[in-house]
Amino acid sequence: MLKMPLERLDELFFELSKEHQIFAPMEKAGSVSFFPWKKGDTLCFDTLLTDRAPKSFFFPQSETLYRARKEEGSLSIVPEEAEEKSAVYFGVRACDRRSFELLDRVFLSTPCDSCYESKRRNGYVVALACKNPENTCFCQSFGIDPAWPGGDVSVWIADGELYWKSLTEKGDALTELVSEMFEEGDRKKVEEQKAEIRKKLDALPLKDLSLERFEHPDSSMELFESEQWESLSETCLGCGICTFVCPTCQCYDICDYNAGHEVRKFRCWDSCMYPGFTEMAHGNNRNNQMQRFRQRFMHKLVYFPENNGGIYSCVGCGRCLRKCPSSLNIARVIKALGENGTEGGNHE
């Protein structure tokens, strides 16, 4: 375990920025998200979760796939070159860091998505332990430990020091760049912080969220047919915010932008909450909001685990608890279906 005074963070970033672009949480227009760092920027490490999940590092909200041009009746396709810029994502929380592994299962599975793969390969994740988990957090339900955040490098901020632990080869490469700034640190402070975090986790309102009901695949159709979907989805506005803030939602659309001289084919985030998502010329296979709502949660809690060795497509970050205008969220669904009849109460 290495450490350095936190006040030298700007210096550390400067050193890292000689080889990599750096992204870190910052406040802009009243909202904290990851932005490219430049010398002198104020960082927001006290904000637990960024408004926008860092999935956009590897799966941007919109990206061009190729450009098509037609000249003298002849068509040409020019693929967008894969981005090969390396970047350090500093301050990613344990839940968001786990979301990258879930996205990997989708995008890196055969056939591999090369747009995602190049960004992932060139991305270095420095994950930060959560000193103060909030009431909307339930990452521990998914086996995530916010005190031990993973990544290429795990970092802890304690008593004005930055503690640094490399976990991968990529992490070692980063450490090498800045090793002169660090000294050997005592694990004690980090161990104390870990114990403190785990104590806080034990006091969170959603700590007992049980996934037991979803662990038995035989009951998947029973869950699909549950009468509770009607009442659970009753106030869903279909706005899709849950899918856009979710670090694990990965559905996308492929669209054409006609720029006149060329057509740009791009892909962008899409949402299974929208009626047009499955609409075809001959009709729609999810005609009402209940069906769309059910699809989202069945996918996260049943279908994704079925295809991925029992791993749920949720990391318990709680963004959907904070952002849904109708107070609908996955914790509510887990409680309602898990408690076999009685709808789980308010999360607050």
Binding site: G73, L75, D256, R267, C272, H299
Partner: protein, 277 residues
Amino acid sequence: MSDRTNVLIPEIGMITDVRRDTPDVKTFRVNGLEGRKPFDHMPGQCAMLSIPGVGEAMFSITSSPTNRDYMEFSIKKCGCLTDWLHQMEKGQEIALRGPYGNYFPVDTELKGKNLLFIAGGIGIAPLRSVINYVIDNRADYGQVDIVYGARSAEDLVDLEEMRKDWSKVQGFRVHLTIDRAEEGWEGNVAFVPDYVRELKFSNDRTVLVCGPPVMIKYVLKALEEMEFASTQVYTTMELKMKCGVGKCGRCNIGAKYVCKDGPVFRYDELGVLPSEY
């Protein structure tokens, strides 16, 4: 899969022939720019066709893989992209990528079996690929019956090919039917499921069904009455698709993705999926 790093990038193909099959179905022959077939496929597999600025959609490849020279798509005019496609002519270029999805198990489960093809309307398109594959590998398969129906005689796709070629193959029988009687039609008049019952096929056959969802539903019911096992019946599904590789999330039914795990499903596999999505 064509040899490209990004599976979402299409290649360019040229329309080398357009044939009108019915008032709203045309068959497009497509070649790669080098003149050969754009890529290899198996019967039942699909490709994404696109017209830049208009859109992209998945279509089944209707020509047989045994044809090494070109690829064909029989397409019904029923939406924005297909309206555009129907205006396209020989010599024009389109973009295409693939092949996508699984295929009818022609080299395993279907081999050595007596086959029964049941199709309705444009549902003949994915089956045409298998039928011609069976013809080109005739010794590998037993008796073949094709039951094909449409609303009217003019809606029967590939009628010419069926009359000219399919019914002449040894061991092949083609049973055509239309929904309502009409002048000049001397063939059978009945809905496809009823006609299947009437023809009293022995239930030792492997069945391949494709057509409108309502037809498939009643055909499956008829087959059940005739004591066909669900493991003997194959069908194809169609849902909205964008990526074609099981990632964009659109064609998800239960834990399956139609573009990747399908479009071909054995009926017993469908039984464990949600009845609505």
